[in-house]
Amino acid sequence: MRIASKMAAGTEGKRSRKSESQNEDEDEMEMEEEPDFSDPDDFVDDVTDEELLGDLLKKKPKATDGIDNVIVVDNIPEVGPERLEKLKNVVKKLYSKFGKVVNDFYPMDGDKTKGYMFLEFSSPLHAQEAVKMTNGYKLDKQHTFAVNLFSDFERFKNIPETWEEPEIKPYEDKGNLRGWLLNKDCYDQFSVIYDAGEKTAIFQNSQEPTKVEERARWTETYVRWSPQGTYLATFHQKGIALWGGEKFVQMARFSHPGVQLIDFSPCERYLVTFSPLTDNREDPQAIIIWDVRTGQKKRGFHCESQTTWPIFKWSPDGLYFARMNPDAISVYETPSFGLLDKKSLKITSIKDFSWSPTDNMIAYWVPEESNTPARVTLIEIPSRKELCVRNLFNVADAKMHWQKSGDHLCVKVDRYSKAKKMEEKDQLKYSGIYFNFELFRIREKQIPVDKVETKEQVLAFAWEPVNNKFAFIHGENPRIGVSFYAIQPKGKVEHLKTFDKRVANHLFWSPNGQFIVLAGLRSMNGVLEFIDTQDMTVMAQTEHFMATDVEWDPTGRYVTSAVSWWGHKVDNAFWIWNFQGNLVAKQALERFCQLMWRPRPPSLLTEKQIKEIKRNFKTWAQKFEIEDTMRKMTASKEMIEKRQALMSDFSKLKEEKQKLFEEQKELRLKLRGGVDTDAFDSHMDMEEETIEFLVKVEETIEE
């Protein structure tokens, strides 16, 4: 109640101050009697402290504060006072390597120590380190330390005695997750981020791209589709959210603060997330693998080395995943998430590895070392059998490119003619670099290898996703060429064609092969060239000025080119082309950032059925053409209706204005002195005149 009276005093003070600056007339007010704020004698305080200053009480120090720094060491020798000093020295020596020991306490039983003791460190991190390193430490034969954090007692005490069966979550019908595939016209969907990331929308690539769904601040950075298109992943400060189904409802949430990168397993069962913020020595949390359907955390990993994402590479069926460590590849298996055969593959000085996109097969390469040549090896998982080894000499660098169909592997090898040791650093300087492609034919017996060599700088390489062709960009600006090769079945690599003097820095094959887009993105101003590689004809040469990205739709029917706000600040838009390079639609969006096609799962049709469809191509084409013209007609009908409405609205207004105009005719005539200037009187019906001038008269007299 003291507070209440203080408050009263405060208001009183204020009032008197106010009256000073006011008129003297108010003196009467001042004379009024003060209300009595003191408690009556029989007053009982019924306000608890909790209610009054609950927020302060919360900050009250607790007995358990700071105990994270304290550890308990059990199984120390029981000694009398004469040897206590010696014991203390031994313990101090042992524990001071983990950090500063602030305090120690040896409980005594009479004059003997009790066989355990307490140590306080300056920081919980040191305490944790000490527990980890000295638990199980053998002081001598009889004494093996059992070390715990003091806070562990609290934690383990609270574990209930009886095991409770986890509750089975009721089954929730999330609807058809592949509903978008049922679209009658096979329209594909794509996600678009625009307005500088403020808005995310899902479009359907119908005649005109139409919005299916749009949400403000759906994601905080960008979005990712799962590999078969079932889920859309959005990024948030607190973790990842997955959306799917007809209406894009939330399917799952994965809490991982500060998450930056994610990767799905190809089967969509697992999600790998990476966050640089939350690693913890005890409980690895830099990389977490989740079960997508249950939302369960499967395993956490540390992330010590700086490598490129994805750190974990998945086998195509999602049964295994692997990461590269110094001098080893660690292959883990699902669903146990343990190391395969409990040990990593030892590969000294391994540089890079990758899975085949279709088989459980890993390709890796190791560089040259003293007398052993560089080596590219193919191994089978889980048997670890070496399928093929290729030795290479004079290797400066190598890069592996798998064909999407898993039929071929190309290793692009940068080779040198001379290597010089740099003086300051322990690095080699290479000169006379040339390039060759080592082409592995995976499907053939013993995996034969062919070789293609080029002297020019290779800027990009790409396999046709199916069939047997590959393309690469070579040369130096402005003399850039694009070459096409095909691998023939009997082991011959055939040069198909080279296009010279091209403006290109990226290659984009259609997902179904045959068609390719050569693109000169970013610094090359967005030049696009559509090529049919069946007969090597250029179907279209065009440009989307300043384009930053090109992406094929999953069916190979359309290509999008885009100018992203992340790369270029003006003219942000995406354009849709058909595979022949005809522009289908232009869509300008304010501060457009990113477009991603929704992937499709692999076709369920059998090889035979696909062949059947290809054979009846003509009848299908006819049917679709009729549909197309029908659709076009209705679309143009809609547009014409819209125009008619606009026109009739405006005509009304114009008629009104025309009336007004006629009413003013007299005034106009008056203002211009009676001359009617309403009609346009053209003086333009001029005729061209030919004017002849007499320049000179000459007379010659002939003799």
């Binding site: 101003n525 000025f545 300043m546 003006v570 003219d571 300008a588 143009s636 014409i640 125009r643 008619q644 606009l646 026109m647 405006f650 207004l653 204005k657 025309q658 007004l660 105009f661 003013q664 005034l667 106009r668 203002l671 211009r672 001359v675 200037t677 346009f680 009187d681 053209s682 003086h683 333009m684 001029m686």
Partner: protein
Amino acid sequence: MKPIMLHGHERSITQIKYNREGDLIYSCAKDSQPNVWYSLNGERLGTFDGHNGAVWCIDVDWNTTKVLTGAADNTCKLWDAQTGQCVSTLETKTAVRSCGFSFSANYIMLTTDKTMGHPCEIFIFDVRDGGQLLSGDPLQKVSIPISDSKITSAIWAGLDENILTGHENGELRQYEMKTGDMLNTSKGHNKQINDIQPSKDGMFFITASKDFTAKLFDMETLEPLKTYKTERPVNSASISPLFDHVVLGGGQEAMSVTTTSTRIGKFDARFFHEIFEEEYGSVKGHFGPINSLSFHPDGKSYSSGGEDGYVRVHYFDQTYLDFRFEY
């Protein structure tokens, strides 16, 4: 058809105008010499000599007897259209931004810039009163307070009665000539209005703005009717007297042009359907932004003047004249 290039200016064009009959084109530029040309063949008929600074605006009366120019040398000059002689010079405190003859050509109006502590002002003179022109004492003067947004474009509205002004903040206002009162105002655009042009019957007008759009308004109510969207600042817009078409000109701002290529600048004249707001064509040619453009009074040709110093006269092909929107 190949355009006729009128190359008589040494610096960027600021305004071009046809006379009522359409046989002459008047152009002014940042050099001090306005020109007059035959629109038919692009031959230069003559120049108006006398200004000492960039000429910002030009107008010609309805029967092509007088020409009015306003310039950055703080003068507005009245010329004899036939001889090219300066008839009268009106001195102002700051640069003259826009000027124009009234419908009857009995009055002229001019607006000045807000600089050097002087406010932006509208002046109206009666041309018939020689004393007014001589003394520079106007019939009417409207002063826009310094704190307010200045006028960037102005035309006569409603024959001889009102002045329509476009402002730096995108506002449109109508002032009554006789009283100097503001009759109506409307927030037309988000950014500076660069140009205002009336329709042939004076019932509508089109504005061109730095906010990347041009808009069609009702002259009486200042109500916006249509919007034409582009990706660049619009410097000038004109309504076709023949079809339901409008043409827009503009492009990347002049100050950033040197750092960008012509392709990114979007310096083409762009044609929209007046009612459907759909863009249906564009004409390339200028290698700088278009500062001013105008339809010929017969609607069968148009001219554009650009930052590149050229005036280009385009005669439409037959295909344009035959082209009809389906509706």
